[in-house]
């Protein structure tokens, strides 16, 4: 079967985008990706849209995006797995190319969130918990991860300081990313003085709701080599799930879906965690990044706190993580986050990441989580 390469990438500024509709955001990312790929729009056989429908007034988003991009009558469809919708879109595009159905597929993750109020978003996101038995108690998305944090602190001695180390690191790198929502360094003191959200989390433990889009164009190997002198290959693709209800999980200190998706991706790529030069992981909350280090095998279980405190995930450390600012500083327009992660790793493997470039990065990884680990997608990406 053919290998699948990424031949074009595009990315909007993330943030409150009151200047644009969701299809206009999709267009910005798409135009940049088509120009980057240096292909004609007509060369694209299909598109896959990653988005979470509940945030938009427009029903059935794929159709309106497809029309606005001028891709009709080519096929399109929407993928939805909460905050991992963008990676699910990449996976289905990859599958369609592997299967020989399509050759060139544009994948667009896009989301407008800021038309809703924060309490409305908290209610919507909280319902990624199980609504029959949990949501009636007013559980929220931050609250679920906060309960993972409390348990992780209890079992492994992870500290409040170590959680804030994640926020400080990601804001440090967000300041270097022109597409990021927050482009300012923060101090632990400032983070520790922010408002409570759900204990132990304060505002700076949480990523920000945002609007934005990111596009990646995939092609089968022959076409990828023909149109690009620097294709980045989707070499390992993992995907796994865990129970919707956290009440039915084996433990509340990690995401079993992430462990399994990582194992699949590393096996397919013939790699192991130590081979990874740069990673983008799903830091929707500070504890989520610490659990990701452990679930992906970058450090042993329970040692994620010291791992970030020792600066092992800064550039120059064992494995630089979220050097684009992560969800934390870049912003988290949920449907766009997966394609944004892949966008960053492609930039890194091409050596085009500017001030935040990881020197000579050859192997990259993305880790995109849907909900509270109900879904997880892991990609291992390589260059020639």
């Amino acid at each position: 079967m053919t290998r699948v390469g990424i031949v074009g990438i595009g990315h909007t500024a993330f943030g409150r985008r009151s200047d644009a509709t969701v299809q206009e955001l999709a267009f910005e990312a798409f135009r940049e990706a088509v120009l980057d790929a240096g292909i004609e729009r007509d060369a694209i056989d299909a598109s896959v849209i990653g988005a979470v429908p509940e945030y938009h007034k427009q029903r059935s988003l794929a159709g309106v995006v497809q029309e606005y991009l001028g891709l009709a009558p080519k096929p399109t469809w929407l993928t939805e797995v909460a905050c991992a919708s963008g990676s699910a879109a990449i996976r289905t595009a990859w599958m369609s190319i592997k299967a020989g159905v399509h050759d060139v597929v544009a994948v667009i993750g896009c989301q407008k969130m800021t038309e809703l109020s924060t309490p409305e978003i908290l209610a919507l996101m909280g319902r990624v918990g199980e609504v029959q038995w949990e949501s009636g108690f007013g559980t929220t998305f931050p609250a679920y991860y906060a309960m993972f944090a409390k348990r992780h602190m209890h079992e492994f001695g992870t500290t409040r300081e170590q959680l804030l180390d994640v926020a400080v690191k990601n804001h440090h790198y967000g300041a270097l990313n022109p597409k990021a929502l927050f482009r300012k360094e923060i101090t632990k003191k400032k983070a520790a003085a922010s408002e409570d959200v759900a204990t132990p989390f304060q505002v700076y433990d949480c990523c920000a709701n945002a609007d934005g889009a990111a596009c990646v164009i995939l092609a089968g190997e022959e076409t990828a080599r023909a149109v690009s002198d620097k294709p980045v290959w989707l070499s390992g693709m993992g995907c796994a799930t865990a129970s919707m209800s956290v009440l039915r999980r084996p433990n509340l200190v990690g995401l079993p879906s992430a462990e399994q998706a990582a194992a699949q991706a590393f096996e397919m790529a013939g790699m192991e965690p130590a081979n990874v030069d740069v990673a983008d992981v799903h830091d929707c909350f500070t504890i989520a990044e610490i659990m990701a280090y452990e679930d992906l095998g970058f450090c042993p279980k329970g040692e994620g706190g010291p791992f970030v405190a020792d600066r092992q995930t800064y550039i120059g450390g064992a494995v630089p993580v979220n050097v684009d600012g992560g969800l934390k500083a870049k912003g988290h327009p949920i449907g766009a986050t997966g394609t944004s992660m892949t966008h960053e790793i492609v930039l890194q493997l091409r050596g085009e990441a500017g001030e935040r470039q990881v020197p000579d990065a050859a192997v990259g990884l993305t880790h995109n989580v849907g909900g509270i680990g109900q879904y997880c997608f892991v990609q291992v990406l390589t260059r020639e």
Binding site: A143, A146, L247
Partner: protein, 146 residues
């Protein structure tokens, strides 16, 4: 009458709707598969082990141990007026887990992971319509009929 369950109920129609009637009568129930005997909390009508759709309710002791917790300050729509509130996840003595609020018998400062708790059926007295839930209370706390 599953619409009785929860301050806001998002899933009023279910095969296990008898749960809410039992809760109103002071009983915390799990489900047990009539075919293979597998029990579940939260309740489920369809057995995840043997796929049978036959089940019966079985009463739990309510004895539990705190697995983790958080105080929610930023509340979602519909819960702003009761914020902040503290929710805990407990491991039930007979297996399974529940998420619930801490009740009046527990002071905020004494909450710690691993503490023993009692899951107690409750009814919202301040609401005109019937709304039932369960809370996390000091061990030995009894259900009180309202």
């Amino acid at each position: 009458m599953f619409k009785w369950f929860g301050r806001i109920n998002y899933a009023p129609f279910t095969k296990v709707d008898g749960f809410a009637q039992h809760l109103k009568d002071g009983r915390l129930m799990a489900t047990r598969c009539s075919q293979c005997g597998a029990t579940s909390f939260p309740p489920r009508a369809d057995c995840s082990v043997c796929l049978s759709g036959d089940f019966e309710f079985t009463e739990l002791s309510g004895r539990a141990r705190l697995h983790t917790f958080t105080k929610i300050v930023a509340a979602p729509t519909g819960f702003e007026d009761v914020a902040p509130y503290t929710v805990g996840v407990v491991d039930l003595e007979e297996g399974g887990r529940a998420v619930a609020w801490f009740g009046d018998s527990i002071q905020e400062g004494e909450i710690e992971i691993g503490m023993e708790l009692q899951v107690v059926p409750q009814i919202f007295e301040e609401l005109e319509e019937i709304k039932v839930y369960y809370s996390l209370e000091r061990p030995g706390t009894e259900w009180v009929k309202v």
